[in-house]
């Protein structure tokens, strides 16, 4: 009796396994559902527009917010249709991929400097101030160097507590890319990366962690993704851009950062933009996909669905939605370049989008 029960149970397990694999191959053939994974920074934007897209066309997109590194890894393992990353693939990284990968920018975000000084309504920081603060050289808020950038503002005699991301992050990458461009000491000692060897301060996990820590700690200063700070209305500092103007981070000033020269493959950091109205710590975020879409048994239908979706993402419909979730839309010149890239993607050597 017991033996037969066990046999039944085992048979049931095997049967369910069989079902599972059958189902998987089944969805691959019908191919109206796409899998994607990557950066968490643009995730609210993607979630919103992918939902809109699926209501419109029936194509569902399953986006996993696993971080830029995870997105690149998943694409490398060829388990997703496209990945998303806040940092474009370096030449070395591109070489490690099994095939050629193209970059499609989707929207622009920025990194803002948030602070907690209850009595200071407006704070201006020069690039030298930023470097001194984040290198741990300015220890008090009433330091004459900060006072010099803020005439007429009464700065408190409080300790400066730097808050940074303890997890690897595209936000840290954009921030440190900017710091490397503007600070000699920073470039020498710290450099650019998704996580850094911080000389001072405390770490907190994720944008919410950094924002929460700043909110709870009087005298704290740190960097946060603009999309998060806009949604939470956190006090942010005005920064001095390459033209010398103090710029408040807004959707317009962030979008302005991408008005400069963008290379044909769109792989560029737009921090420290030369545009007079640009907020200096801005950055694009990309979707990455294989230039040759026929891999790991993907159908032509699936490849077409991927390309059509991405073409829609950079078009007006989706771009107009970006400010709703606090991202800056791509300027027209950049959209044009991205469209050209999409039209170079092939399936078995044949161009997919005509």
């Amino acid at each position: 009796m017991k033996k037969s029960l066990i046999i039944v149970a085992i048979a049931a397990i095997f049967a369910s396994c069989g079902n599972g694999t059958k189902k998987q191959t089944g969805t691959e053939k019908s191919s109206v559902s796409l899998a994607a994974a990557g950066a968490t920074f643009p995730q609210p934007f993607y979630n919103l527009i992918f939902k809109n897209y699926s209501e419109k066309t029936g194509v569902t997109v399953d986006y996993g917010g696993v971080g830029s590194g995870g997105g690149i890894r998943s694409l490398k393992d060829q388990v997703i249709d496209f990945g998303a990353t806040d940092a474009y693939l370096s030449d070395d990284q591109a070489k490690e991929m099994p095939a050629e990968v193209v970059h499609i920018p989707t929207c622009i975000g920025a990194v803002v400097i948030a602070y907690n000084l209850p009595e200071v309504a407006e704070l201006k920081l020069t690039n030298a101030n930023l470097e001194d603060i984040f290198m741990g050289d300015i220890k008090k808020w009433n330091d004459p160097k900060i006072a010099a950038s803020n005439p007429g503002v009464k700065l408190p005699d409080l300790a400066v507590t730097v808050v940074y991301r303890s997890d690897g992050s595209g936000t840290t990458f954009i921030f440190s890319d900017y710091m490397t461009k503007i600070g000699k000491r920073w470039a020498e000692k710290i450099g650019t990366g998704k996580s850094l060897n911080w000389p001072a301060g405390i770490g907190a996990k994720g944008n919410p962690g950094v924002a929460g820590t700043i909110k709870q700690t009087v005298g704290a200063v740190g960097y946060i993704g603009s999309e998060y700070s806009f949604a939470q209305s956190i006090a942010t500092a005005k920064l001095q851009n390459a033209a010398g103007n103090f710029i408040e981070p807004t959707i317009e000033s962030i979008s302005a950062a991408a008005k400069g020269e963008i290379p044909a493959d769109t792989r560029i950091m737009i921090t420290n933009s030369t545009d007079a109205d640009a907020y200096p710590i801005s950055g694009m975020t990309w979707i990455i996909l294989y230039k040759e879409q026929a891999y790991k048994g993907r159908t032509k239908e699936q490849a077409e669905a991927t390309l059509k979706l991405l073409d829609w993402v950079i078009d007006t419909d989706a771009q107009l939605v970006a400010p709703q979730v606090h991202y800056a839309p791509l300027p027209a010149s950049t959209v044009e370049k991205a469209k050209a890239i999409l039209r170079s993607v092939t399936y078995n050597g044949e161009i997919i989008l005509k």
Binding site: R73, G191, K194
Partner: protein, 283 residues
């Protein structure tokens, strides 16, 4: 007889699964950390640089090993008197009285609280208190996370110690009382000597839990990758650096994080082994 055989097979298979899982974990941890140990050698264990910047990548685990051991030992020292007194209160002084049942239930309740809730409490209640007391300018660090860890491990040490204390034979205690011993003398001369190996084991278990705690510590320790200079300095632990950084890690960094995982595994195993050895010697 058939069911006898079946039981045997099931028991055998379950034990085998545990063996396979444990050795599989060691195998994959060891395999993943090969790159880190090949690159840095034994230096990985005693240097404290953690520089993930591409081009000048350099990793050492000392800061995290130090942070883990210091927070856990501190937590154990704070937990020790509290847990032992509570165990004596429940298991001996007020044994089977309503008040001890209430305290016992509260202790078990503490064990059931998820660590993220401890972290929240530490972040919003304990940390501002430490700032107000002027112990540290922002309240993050070894001290704050150690206190929260101590509270988290109290239930483990307390409930096992209580059971052990309750198991001390009444005959022994009564014999001591009949010889004119006071209650305190019974505790120090009869109860604790008889129960010490079990009590010790309960603290080893609590210590092991403190070593591996991740979430609450990450929220409170400050996540600064340096060897802590004082009790109020910020630091980082092995578990929390892994939780924080594995998501975006690849190559050498990923391997270094896995190596830290392996070291944590080894440290926990060593402490368990040492505990077992001491228990054997004492009993």
């Amino acid at each position: 007889m058939k069911s006898e055989k079946l039981t045997k097979v099931i028991l055998f298979l379950s034990s085998l699964t545990i063996l396979l899982v444990a050795s599989g974990m060691i195998y994959s941890l060891a395999g993943g950390s090969v790159l880190a140990f090949k690159t840095f050698g034994i230096k990985f264990i005693y240097t404290s640089v953690w520089n993930p910047t591409e081009g000048s990548e350099n990793y050492g685990a000392l800061a995290f090993i130090a942070g883990t051991i210091i927070t856990s030992v501190f937590a154990l020292l704070v937990c020790l008197p509290l847990a032992l007194s509570t165990a004596l209160f429940i298991g001996e002084y007020y044994r089977d009285k309503p008040v001890s049942r209430i305290v016992g239930t509260m202790v078990d309740l503490l064990a059931g609280i998820p660590s993220i809730v401890y972290g929240l409490w530490g972040f919003y209640v304990l940390r501002p208190l430490i700032v107000d007391l002027g112990l540290s300018p922002q309240g993050y660090g070894i001290f704050t996370s150690g206190i929260v860890l101590a509270i988290m491990i109290i239930p483990y040490a307390t409930s096992i110690s209580t059971e052990i204390i309750k198991m001390v034979p009444n005959d022994l205690k009564e014999a001591a009382y009949s010889l004119g011993a006071t209650r305190l003398e019974v505790i120090t001369n009869v109860l604790i000597p008889n129960a010490r190996s079990g009590i010790f084991a309960s603290f080893i278990l609590a210590f092991g839990r403190a070593l591996g705690e991740t979430m609450a510590v990450t929220m409170l320790i400050g996540n600064a990758n340096v060897v802590p200079e004082s009790l109020f300095a910020t630091g980082n632990t092995m578990a929390s650096v892994i939780a924080n950084q594995f998501g975006e890690a690849d190559g050498l960094k990923l391997s270094s994080l896995i190596a830290i995982g392996l070291l944590l595994f080894i440290i926990t195993a060593l402490i368990n082994a040492a505990g077992k050895f001491i228990i054997k010697r004492f009993s």
